[in-house]
């Protein structure tokens, strides 16, 4: 194998093995922490029958993840549907930006754990409350990037719009949107990452089926290896989501 190939494959594998070794060492020290081998032994049923449904929480890992993904998709789309026009508007209007910038800066750092009870109060049911928390938490990167993208449109393009006497609608469709798209996609990518972070917390609190709900139930049932399984699943799905978003970003590049 060439030196290049070594760098591409062997180094990442070594990294994973090192962490696994650390995990094993830790499991020797901490009595309740299952080792990698034990984790696999106790949870292989969930991985080898990934689509099985045995009970409300007792389901294959991909099936559980798909519930979470559906919830994330809905929450994220809801957030993006609000955040995209809001971001573009804030970028286009200095006055609106001044008006809402403090509000955004205050709302942005609020944890999903704080939004969820408010959602429950407003909607009375766990499902819309979870969507609310995901949407509210995940929209800020899109808002901020969208606004930054509009502000970064070169004066040249505005001059083109002026000189060609483009209508506001044409200017928006032909200049503002394509010019802002790379910024928006960076925002979407960050937003989706946050949405995936929020899902686990909201499922844990509401006890709905999904990887987060599963994790919390298995903790309560004292099956600790399943916690590790859920953690790994969350990590892998999050990684896949980010890669997919990155792929979409590069496919839709306008500039």
């Amino acid at each position: 194998m060439t030196a290049r190939g070594l760098g591409y494959f062997l180094l990442p594998i070594t990294g994973v093995l090192l962490v696994a070794a650390l995990w094993t060492a830790a499991s020797v020290q901490v009595k309740d922490l299952p080792s990698p081998v034990r984790t696999w032994e106790e949870s292989k049923l969930y991985v080898l029958e990934p689509f099985a449904k045995r009970g409300e929480m007792d389901q294959g890992i991909i099936r559980l993840a798909s519930y979470s993904l559906m919830r994330v998709a809905r929450g994220f789309l809801l957030g993006a549907a609000i955040a995209t026009p809001l971001g573009l508007l804030l970028g286009l209007s200095q006055a609106l930006n001044r008006m809402f910038d403090p509000v955004i800066q205050i709302l942005r750092p609020i944890s999903p754990l704080a939004w969820l009870p408010l959602g429950l109060v407003i909607f009375q049911r766990s499902e819309p409350a979870a969507l609310f928390a995901i949407a509210v938490c995940s929209m800020w990167p899109t808002v901020i990037n969208g606004a930054a993208g509009v502000k970064a449109i070169p004066q040249d393009y505005w001059n083109v719009a002026k000189v060609l006497r483009l209508s506001p609608v044409t200017t928006f469709v032909k200049i503002v949107i394509p010019s802002t798209l790379p910024y928006l996609f960076t925002g979407y990518r960050l937003s989706l990452g946050i949405a995936w972070l929020v899902i686990v917390a909201s499922e844990m609190l509401t006890g709905t089926p999904g990887v987060g709900g599963f994790l919390w139930q298995e903790y309560n049932s004292l099956i600790y290896s399943h916690i590790l399984l859920a953690i790994l699943a969350i990590g892998l799905v999050g990684f896949a989501l980010d890669r997919l978003m990155g792929l979409a970003e590069s496919k839709l590049r306008t500039i």
């Binding site: 040249d156 393009y157 001059n159 083109v160 000189v163 060609l164 006497r165 306008t254 500039i255």
Partner: protein, 291 residues
């Protein structure tokens, strides 16, 4: 009253709490169908002047009238060519032209708009690059697209802001000729105001050359008429006595202005000798004419 009438035009920008007067008391009359070149040093306010006349910016003093109407915003019958092409990178060559055509002739069908755009791109020699994006075109080709975009809206007024400034000498020469041909082939009087820092370019294309004084604040010097017959060629301008006379006169004017401006700014003698940043290109093949 002339077609374009510029009276007492002034513009200043606020820089660090002081007003910087860029233009002051600029007066100019342009007849319908005339080609005017404004020649001046870099940063003397030429572009600001053109932006004011075109309606991209509004003046602080004075006014511009076109065909008797005071200019407030960009006019329907005007087209503008920018120095840096200003093409939209996400649209193909024909997409860029079509955007202008669709804005100028909204009642046309899409097919007609596309055919019209294609015709103008073919006119500037880009018939084979219709679907290429600006990123895949050379500088000269990009400026050709920009020129096609300007002409495709069939303008009566053309504003050219150093249209060939970013091109190499050979490409510049070709495009200058093409522009002259497009203007004469338009079949209607096209009134043009061009900003340039090349006296030769001005000589090649204009009916009148207006030297701009060195600012700030800058204003217009007396216009020089160019009575040379058309079509003109670069080689011909090298040998023509009249062309040489006009060129020398304009360069002398500009040098005089810059000396004045320097003396005004710093009364003590300057070590720097008068360097003339006016681009005087000379084709390598052409013999240097004896004076």
């Amino acid at each position: 009253m002339a077609y374009i009438e510029i009276q007492g035009l002034g513009k200043s920008f606020r820089v660090k709490k002081t007003d910087r007067h860029v233009l002051q008391d600029v007066n100019l009359s342009v007849e319908r169908g005339e080609f005017i070149s404004v020649v001046g040093f870099m940063g003397c306010g030429k572009s600001t002047f053109l932006n004011l006349v075109a309606g991209l910016q509004s003046p602080d003093a004075g006014r511009v009238t076109i065909d008797g109407d005071v200019v407030r915003g960009v006019r329907k019958e005007a087209a503008y060519v920018f120095q840096n092409y200003s093409l939209l990178p996400w649209l193909s060559a024909i997409g860029n032209v079509q955007l202008a055509v669709a804005a100028a002739f909204p009642s046309w069908s899409r097919e007609k708009q596309l055919a019209h755009s294609k015709q103008y791109l073919e006119l500037v020699g880009l018939g084979s690059a219709l679907h290429r994006r600006p990123g895949q075109l050379s500088g000269g080709m990009r400026q050709r697209v920009a020129i096609a975009r300007a002409f495709a809206s069939e303008p009566e007024i053309l504003f050219l802001d150093e249209p060939f400034g970013a091109l190499d000498a050979l490409t510049r020469g070709n495009l200058q000729q093409e522009l002259a041909q497009l203007c004469s082939a338009a079949g209607r009087p096209v009134t043009t105001i061009m900003i340039t820092n090349s006296v030769e370019e001005a000589l090649l294309l204009s009916d009148r050359i207006v030297p701009m004084t060195s600012g700030p604040p800058a204003t217009m010097g007396p216009a020089v008429s160019v009575t040379l017959p058309r079509p003109r060629t670069v080689a011909q301008l090298q040998h023509d006595d009249e062309a040489l006379r006009v060129k020398t006169h304009v360069i002398e004017c500009l040098t005089e202005y810059v000396k004045h401006a320097r003396e005004r700014r710093s009364p003590r003698p300057s070590v720097q000798t008068a360097t003339v940043p006016v681009v005087v290109t000379r084709p390598s093949s052409g013999a240097v004419p004896a004076k």
